[in-house]
């Protein structure tokens, strides 16, 4: 921080001695505005896996390339490699009741599109990815639920975790 009095205290006094006390006195000081810019990484879950209405006894599948697929977006350093791993629930739970979910499918791309990318099988094993030249990567996941004909009503929940290693 630097102090720059255009008219120093002593000078101001000196000037006021030779002039009316009503004359204006000017002071100037400065400070610095500062910021440090850092490159972030951003992993965002954008859309859940949405099956809509599913009927008991009828398997329902959402493909990773479907509009209803779950989606994640990742931004980071351009052209850098990034590893993806998934923690996937084998079942969804509603109290003591469970609903089987499986046959997971995945698709990743450097643009937000489910065309022109790379299909993969989401799992705890590493799926390699690479950021685009603008530092973007998008991942989509799908799955199949297999409700038996006697599936009880309820609110079924589970968690899908995407881990990105940078």
């Amino acid at each position: 921080m630097r102090i720059v009095p255009a008219v120093s205290a002593v000078m101001a006094l000196g000037l006021s001695l030779g002039a009316s006390t009503a004359s204006a006195q000017t002071n100037t000081a400065n400070i610095t505005a500062r910021a440090v810019v850092q490159a972030p990484i951003n992993v965002t879950a954008n859309q859940n896996l949405d099956f809509g209405n599913v009927f008991p006894g009828v398997n329902a599948t959402i493909a990773a390339t479907a509009a209803a697929a779950g989606s994640f977006s990742i931004t980071g350093q351009a052209s850098a490699p990034a590893k993806m791993t998934f923690t996937l629930p084998p079942t969804l739970a509603s109290g003591v009741n469970t609903l089987t979910i499986g046959t997971w499918t995945g698709y990743w791309n450097t643009i937000n599109s489910q065309v022109g990318g790379t299909a993969f099988i989401p799992s705890a094993a590493v799926t390699p990815g690479t950021f685009s030249a603008t530092g973007n990567m998008f991942t989509f996941v799908g799955a199949t639920v297999t409700p038996p004909s006697n599936q009880p009503a309820g609110t079924y929940t589970g968690s899908v975790t995407l881990t990105v290693t940078y």
Binding site: Q38, A39, P40, I41, N42, V43, T44, A45, N46, Q47, N48, L49, D50, F51, G52, N53, V54, F55, P56, A60, A68, G70, F72, G76, Q77, S79, A80, P81, K83, T87, L92, S94, L99, V126, P128, T130, V145, P147, Q151, P152, A153, G154, T155, Y156, T157, G158, S159, V160, T161, L162, T163, V164, T165, Y166
Partner: protein, 278 residues
């Protein structure tokens, strides 16, 4: 849909609508110095829902698998020869809720053991973020609903440095083969010196006329030794003889200059023949 069918239907997905979940983290590579033994990370929630954050550390470093893909090596059994800082790096706070549009500074403090030798020590920082629990109030209880909580984990490198460090890298065994419209380039990179090498690999493909007809550029981290693969687009290039030049430098646009250990550029070249049928 009949009433009966409606009762029997299962609604799988998000009954109340979904909001993006996750946090931005900066920097994406953390450096700590033995003199200060502390640094910070910034978390920012750009989304419209709160995120529950958990921060942990563990030992790991990048390597490559047999196909040249990067992998994170996390040795299950460690000995004193492995330069782990994970046991003595702590994050404050380790758990927090980050509300929408809110920032949080995470302090990272090191408590290294007494007599720590000069060198570079590594850790990984795992930042887990998940949205709050899906509210179920108001859901039609005559249907079956499913709410999936999404969680994201981001694993970032941390390097703790003590003393004067230097790094370097050797490049050998460069090879290239065509795969469709790409040239897959591989090479062996071995770290020199006392710290991991962080830099950039650039490749240029030059034709007989001396013109650069294709290029690639990738950031690279060589903690020990790796044999990664890179892709260079060659769509539309005529078959024939080319020369591939590979250069490794220590410049990194995404890292602060003061944290990058400089090296003299390392270069090598090989002849490449692009076949007519690809």
């Amino acid at each position: 849909m009949t009433r009966l069918a409606a009762l029997a239907s299962l609604t799988i997905g998000v009954p109340l609508g979904l909001h993006a979940q996750g946090v931005m983290i900066a920097p994406h590579q953390v450096f700590m110095d033995h003199r200060t033994r502390s640094t910070s990370m910034t978390l920012y929630n750009p989304n419209s829902t709160p995120a529950e954050i958990t921060i942990t550390t563990f030992f790991g470093y990048p390597g490559t698998d047999s196909t040249g893909e990067f992998e994170l090596r996390t040795p299950e059994s460690r000995d004193s020869t492995q330069p782990s800082a994970a046991e003595w790096i702590e994050a404050f706070p380790r758990r927090l809720t980050l509300y929408p549009q809110e920032k949080q500074i995470i302090r990272l403090l090191a408590r290294p053991p007494a007599g720590l030798a000069d060198g570079e020590y590594w850790s990984r920082i795992a930042v887990s973020a998940k949205g709050g629990a899906v509210a179920v109030a108001g859901i039609d209880t005559t249907k079956i609903n499913v709410g999936l909580n999404l969680e994201v984990r981001t694993i970032l490198p941390l390097q703790y440095r003590k003393g004067r460090l230097q790094t370097g890298v050797t490049l050998s065994d460069i090879s290239a083969k065509t795969i469709g419209d790409s040239l897959e380039v591989r090479g062996k990179f071995v770290r020199q010196g006392s710290a991991a090498f962080l830099g950039t690999v650039r490749g240029t493909l030059v034709n007989d006329a001396g013109q650069i007809v294709a290029r690639f550029s990738n950031p690279i981290a060589v903690y020990l030794d790796i044999a990664p693969r890179f892709r260079c687009g060659i769509a539309g290039l005529p078959p024939g003889r080319y020369v591939l030049h590979v250069e490794v430098t220590s410049d990194r646009e995404d890292l602060p200059a003061e944290s990058v250990l400089p090296i003299k550029p390392v270069r090598d070249s090989i002849a490449v023949v692009l076949p007519s049928e690809r």
